[in-house]
């Protein structure tokens, strides 16, 4: 981390040419040309769709497009489903963030205590693995494992141990859905989450541990008084970074939810998706309005987190 920052400062610290603007433009003509393809893609993929947010103020059904002003927003704020989705998004996203971060910190701290390099590397290789599986795959695996059929791994195993008497339809039970969702997230992302913490831990000054040794600290005490405090800053940064993205929750929920558990699982993006693509004759204007609301709230969150990040570590997140 510190190495990279150093690099940035050296290159920004380099003396900047103070030639006239026209000369500078001419000198850099080649660079502008090289940037052109990037610019074209950015405009097409990101900026052109931004024009489409105007549909938030229209009724857009089949091929009829009529101006309706703020009606879509009024409809949205009056809908119970919308508010359910909104509060679910925040609850699920934030809980998930806290739980997986905690799990990652825990694993990193203890992984840091492992001094056999071979064992450590092997473990890292293993626990990073699930991160590279798509949500479609992870959902497929766990849906098969959690199913009620005679080949359902979890139900049948628990039954054979005598823990359960009858099968539970885990993903279709309201009380179970969120815990299962968090567990799957822990399984998939904990390992990968440790990468950033391990990087921080490898940067801890060994003198701190040595000083603790001299003071006669036990292993656990060293963890508690040296390792954990050293991680706190990174933990806060990770939380802030991810807080900015809490509204983006989509695919992980989409592949695991179902209409039995809409109450506890429906998030804004899945709500938009269903209203847009699974409705007989959808109003694209209304769903664009919901999307715009999500984008705006997300925008505010990013700016707030950016501000917080600047306060804490001196540089923003964007």
């Amino acid at each position: 981390m510190s190495k990279k920052q150093n690099a940035v400062t050296t290159s920004t610290g380099a003396p900047i040419n103070k030639k006239p603007l026209s000369t500078r433009i001419k000198n850099n003509l080649g660079y502008y040309l090289m940037f052109l393809p990037v610019l074209v893609f950015v405009i097409i993929i990101y900026y052109w769709p931004m024009l489409g947010v105007r549909y938030a103020f229209y009724e857009y059904k089949l091929r009829n497009i009529n101006w309706v002003g703020l009606k879509n927003f009024q409809t949205m704020f009056a809908k119970k489903e919308f508010w359910t989705a909104f509060s679910n998004t925040l609850q699920i996203s934030i809980t998930k963030l806290l739980i997986t971060t905690f799990a990652s910190v825990l694993v990193s701290v203890f992984l840091n205590e492992m001094h056999n390099m071979f064992a450590k590397k092997t473990l890292q290789t293993i626990i990073y693995l699930p991160h590279f599986m798509s949500w479609a795959v992870v959902a497929a695996i766990f849906q098969l494992f959690l199913s009620k059929s005679s080949t359902g791994f979890v139900n049948e195993t628990l039954k054979s141990w005598g823990v359960l008497s009858t099968s539970i339809d885990f993903l279709h039970t309201k009380a179970m859905w969120r815990p299962i969702f968090y567990m799957i997230n822990i399984w998939k992302e904990t390992g990968w989450g440790t990468v950033i913490f391990l990087a921080t831990l490898s940067g801890i000054n060994p003198e701190l541990y040595e000083a603790a040794d001299i003071d006669g600290a036990s292993r656990l005490q060293k963890i508690w008084y040296v390792t954990v405090p050293a991680l706190m800053n990174t933990v806060i940064i990770v939380l802030i970074l991810n807080l900015a993205k809490v509204l983006n929750l989509f695919e992980s929920v989409f592949v695991l939810y179902n209409n039995r558990v809409f109450d506890v699982s429906d998030v804004i993006s899945t709500y938009i998706y269903r209203q847009t693509f699974l409705t007989a004759i959808p109003d694209y204007g209304y769903t664009t309005a919901v999307g715009l609301f999500k984008s705006l709230v997300g925008c505010v969150l990013v700016l707030v987190c950016n501000w917080a990040s600047k306060k804490i570590r001196g540089r923003g997140i964007i």
């Binding site: 900047i16 990101y46 489409g52 989450g193 998706y273 769903t287 990013v302």
Partner: protein
């Protein structure tokens, strides 16, 4: 003081004593590793097992290849797989080209408008048009219902571009100055100096693109309706959710086929992963955790 420290370290390193803490630590990690590995191993074993069992087995009871044979002989299954391969290769190439070009240009300190261009890119990370406007644009570009949507959608990732830029900034500026004095054009510097020095970065970022494109499911769900043009992730999901299994000449149980399909959906990265792990990890810049 320094000598004393070295001495303590020396002593510690030599101490052959087995600590209770270490034992517990190892046991905990064996459990953690098992939690991760058991589901993956079960998937693998069951994909070769012709009988569906709920139990965890170390080895298939009745070995069969029919799950895989079915996938690679059924057009509705192998075509999505090919689509996945094609889009991943092209998407990765496009992504690398755009992010290296963009990242490189943005390192030019004295280029007028650099800050504006940076902001122009970064703004897209703050605000987006949303699902429907994006869909309508893709529709106008005639990209809806084609496999190219996967290439185009992921070909330009601002976040990866910024990572690339950070890598380039680590290259000593003196090299560029020397090349400029030698009369190298921007493109010349790019190809002769920047790219050869960034092989590790290219590998990391390339892998990030590849993983993103290969693993994408929701883009297909939203944009593609023609079953000939879906990717393998989508097909896998449809197959398991809708119980939509093809009838084939091979005798294969539904369970075997499902697990074989899951293995196919993770296979490329499972093979590459042990060799390329360092590049995967490098891609994670401090201060950025990908969702």
């Amino acid at each position: 003081m320094a000598q004393a420290k070295q001495a303590t370290m020396h002593v510690q390193a030599k101490k052959p004593k087995i600590h209770v803490f270490d034992v517990v630590n190892y046991i905990v990690f064996v459990i953690v590793a098992l939690i991760v590995l058991i589901p993956i191993w079960k998937v693998l074993v069951d994909s070769f097992n012709s009988v569906g069992v709920y139990q965890f087995r170390f080895w298939p009871e009745d070995f069969t290849f029919n799950g895989y044979l079915t996938i690679f002989t059924t057009v509705r299954l192998y075509r999505p797989f090919l689509n996945s391969v094609i889009t991943t290769v092209l998407g990765t190439l496009l992504g690398l080209v755009l992010s290296t070009l963009g990242g490189y240009v943005l390192t030019q300190q004295d280029m007028p408008g650099r800050n504006f261009l940076s902001f122009f890119l970064l703004f897209t990370m703050i605000f987006s048009g949303g699902m429907i406007p994006e869909y309508l644009v893709m529709k106008q570009l005639h990209l809806v219902d084609t496999i190219w949507i996967l290439v185009i959608k992921h070909g330009m990732n601002v976040y990866n571009l910024v990572l690339m830029k950070n890598f380039f900034e680590g290259i000593p500026g003196s090299l560029f100055e020397a090349a400029k004095i030698d009369g190298c054009t921007p493109m010349g510097i790019f190809f002769k100096i920047v790219l050869p020095l960034s092989k590790a970065a290219l590998a990391s970022i390339g892998l990030m693109y590849a993983v993103t494109v290969w693993n994408d499911y929701s883009t297909v769900q939203i944009y593609i309706t023609n079953p000939d043009r879906v990717n393998f992730q989508y097909k896998l999901r449809v197959m398991i959710m809708d119980g939509d299994t093809p009838t084939t000449a091979y005798k294969v149980s539904q369970n075997t086929l499902y697990y074989a399909a899951i293995v196919c959906a993770i296979l490329p990265f499972m093979i590459a992963y042990p060799f390329l792990q360092q590049y995967f990890v490098q891609g994670v810049n401090v201060g950025a955790v990908k969702e």
